[in-house]
């Protein structure tokens, strides 16, 4: 019979797929450019003209690095319709993103990239907005700030980093923000403190702020929502819970909004920050912490072992680029 006996739980053959992986005829989604902002954060520019045309601020993609990889949701940091590219900014924190940091170079390709997913941010009639980005949220807030600027709004950018060495895209933000407040944890650049301090400063200076948009780690978005709540300023946050398919099919990304369950992938990712149950979200982000730890340790150990054979990896890298 065709398939009994020899099958493993993987059930996969080794042949390349006969179907097309995307609009391009080649294999996967080519990485055309990369820039390292720091030893953990890097920018990838991926060739995908159709997606560059379709993408709107606030949407995200799901990528898979290789055929054993997991599906990783990443907010779109920028898109260039003329060049036909989509920009992602990745923070290497877990196994998969560290592996990306190691493997994703110009000339290589992602195994899969699908999107743009989620509902685009509503860039409405607000006349004066604060766009807040912290940590991995700095990049995705950029297209929103630019969109607000294009709509003619007065844009105040508030971006937070741990220290001055981690700052990136300051010039890009300056171009589209009427004011830019940089916050660093150690005070090495801009004001010392968290982005909430920046928000408070902006609110103190402007009494007519219509909207705050905050993207970043849940704890930061929660703090932003709490900072604006007493002022009654509409606050939009972009949630990034654990997902599998990103098309509304698995329900893994469900979040509590005003006590009701919503799927971040199809109902979001943007929600009213004052309605979001952030504690629930943060708990759900810990769902796989044991597995994440295990995967990271195992991977680090593998890398260490490979490094023991001197220079093999670096030589290969040179050969490729």
């Amino acid at each position: 019979m065709t398939s009994q006996g020899t099958k493993t739980a993987t059930g996969r053959g080794t042949e390349p797929p006969k179907w097309r992986m995307g609009p391009a005829s080649g294999v996967g989604f080519p990485i055309v450019d990369r820039e390292d902002f720091s030893d953990t954060t890097f920018r990838l520019e991926i060739d995908h003209p159709v997606m560059a045309k379709a993408a709107r601020p606030g949407q995200f993609v799901i990528i898979v690095t290789h055929d054993h990889g997991e599906r990783i949701p990443l907010t779109i940091a920028d898109y260039d319709r003329d060049k036909g590219t989509v920009t992602l900014v990745v923070q290497a924190v877990g196994k998969s993103t560290r592996e990306m940091q190691q493997l994703c170079r110009p000339g290589t390709a992602l195994y899969s990239m699908v999107g743009p997913m989620g509902q685009p941010s509503h860039v409405g009639e607000a006349k004066k907005v604060i766009c807040v980005g912290g940590g991995l949220g700095v990049a995705p807030i950029f297209p929103q700030a630019r969109a607000f600027k294009e709509r003619g709004a007065y844009v105040i950018g508030v971006v937070g980093f741990r220290n001055r060495d981690l700052i990136f895209w300051e010039d890009k933000f300056r171009q589209c923000c009427d004011e830019l407040i940089i916050c660093t944890d150690d005070g090495s650049a801009g004001i010392k403190g968290l982005v909430t301090k920046g928000i408070e400063q902006a609110i103190a200076q402007h009494s007519d702020i219509d909207e705050v948009v905050a993207v970043g780690p849940p704890i930061m978005m929660k703090a932003c929502a709490e900072a604006t709540r007493p002022h009654g300023i509409k606050t939009v946050v972009s949630l990034n819970p654990i997902m599998v398919d990103g098309t509304g099919m698995c329900g893994g990304c469900r979040v509590k909004i005003g006590g009701r369950i919503k799927f971040a992938c199809v109902d979001g990712p943007d929600f009213d920050g004052h309605d979001v149950d952030f504690d629930d979200l943060m708990n759900r982000l810990h769902r796989f912490k044991e597995e994440e730890q295990l995967a990271l340790e195992r991977w680090t150990e593998n890398c260490r072992r490979l490094d023991m054979e001197p220079h093999t990896t670096t030589d290969q890298d040179k050969g490729r680029s």
């Binding site: 019979m1 099958k7 993987t10 995307g22 379709a54 199809v266």
Partner: protein, 501 residues
Amino acid sequence: MAKKKTIRTIPQERAFMPVEAPEARVANFGEVVLGFDVENALVECERCLVCPEPACVAGCPVGIDIPGFICKMIDKDYRGAYDIISEANLLPAICGRVCPQEDQCEGVCPVGDTLEPVAVGRLERWVGDRAIEEGWHKRPYIEPNGFRVGIIGSGPAGVACAADLAKAGCAVTVYEALHEPGGVLRYGIPEFRLPNQVVDEEIGNLLDLGIEIQCNTLVGRLFTIEQMLDEMGYDAVFIGTGAGSPKFMEIPGETLNGVLSANELLTRCNLMVAGSFPEYDTPLHLGRRVAVIGAGNTAMDALRVSLRLGAEKVYCVYRRTETESPARVEELHHAQEEGIEFHWLTAPVEILDDGDGNVRAMRCVRMELGEPDESGRRRPVPIEGSEFEFETDMVVYAIGTNANPILGQTSKLKLNKWGYIETGEDLATSMAGVYAGGDIVTGAATVILAMGAGRRAARSIKEYLGIRDSDVVYRPERSGHEGALFGVNVAERNFARVRLA
């Protein structure tokens, strides 16, 4: 041919078919139902009475000429049998495995009035597997007719529609949002019931018809249906995106870690191979005691997957009884054999926290059956004061699905009040040239019903484009045209010619 067969002269018992022993199979993902060997397949064929007006053909959602292929098998013309089946169904190895035959062909088989009905599904599977082994798939010469059709979703509805349109000469592109094609056949149905290799083979047959499948493409977001018709040059579009969105019960504790939908569990295991973590990157975090809520086919799959992944205890929790369970008889039987504990007339009312954000237990209530509801089944009613704690650390919801919202959000398609796409009898939607079928129209159903809908939509699309439909010629009574002349629709203006290379 020998003397006419009667119910007395045919083999009284179904032919023997091996099934993996429960103790052995729960330890791996190998197939459970192993299929006939050739001798037993032929014995089973002898049980068919070859009725002159076969009820089974009418009972088959895709109208396979069942006595026809069985006669070919009796003549040992297995290739001929495959040709007959593949005329109506390009995925026999899949359908032979996953169709609920007891409600379809086998359910209406007259042999079943006194004996067990002819095992049509097992015979279909035998032919399908044989075809894969021998590489019989025919690559017909198809004369292109110049029309382009876009299909959204590579699940059963999409591929059935794609196959019929490709055979008629249309240039067909199938768009799939995930990174592998097959839809529910890929992410939903587990390996032990439908090996991925079988899906690969049968999808390969579609590619041989010249169909293009493009993965990683989320229609609605990457481009809209309107763009497909206006900018991308498609003459017609078929939507077969599936129902998708899993239902939750909206009881307290549902966002605790350890509560997930059966869709998520199955997708992690089947598509993402979480059972082989950490070789594969996707984790699952299986509980020790897994409770699956619901008793349909998806629930059976979730139960049996959890067991195979190593859960110590696996419970099926259902608010009605075994009689009302919507699962296929065979699946329910296999699950029982494998040692799954069934808790009938039980429903959760709250999921309890272990203090750390994980599931500790469920608070459940006992039910009794009251008056019949609109589905005709007796409505379960909670018994007052019967609440009890049910110890479990993973709760899997398999209580059905809602409509996937993406195409509704991104197009002007008319939806019904539940969010499913509204269509007419001919599966035409509110947009000209756009047809829909399968779960996104009917709500969650079966693989074969979705395939039937895909074929029906293909027929309508052919008519819309003015292509001759071979079914009209061969089955004039099915065409439904008043204006048919010699079985040919007078409205048609384009003739597709199909012949074997």
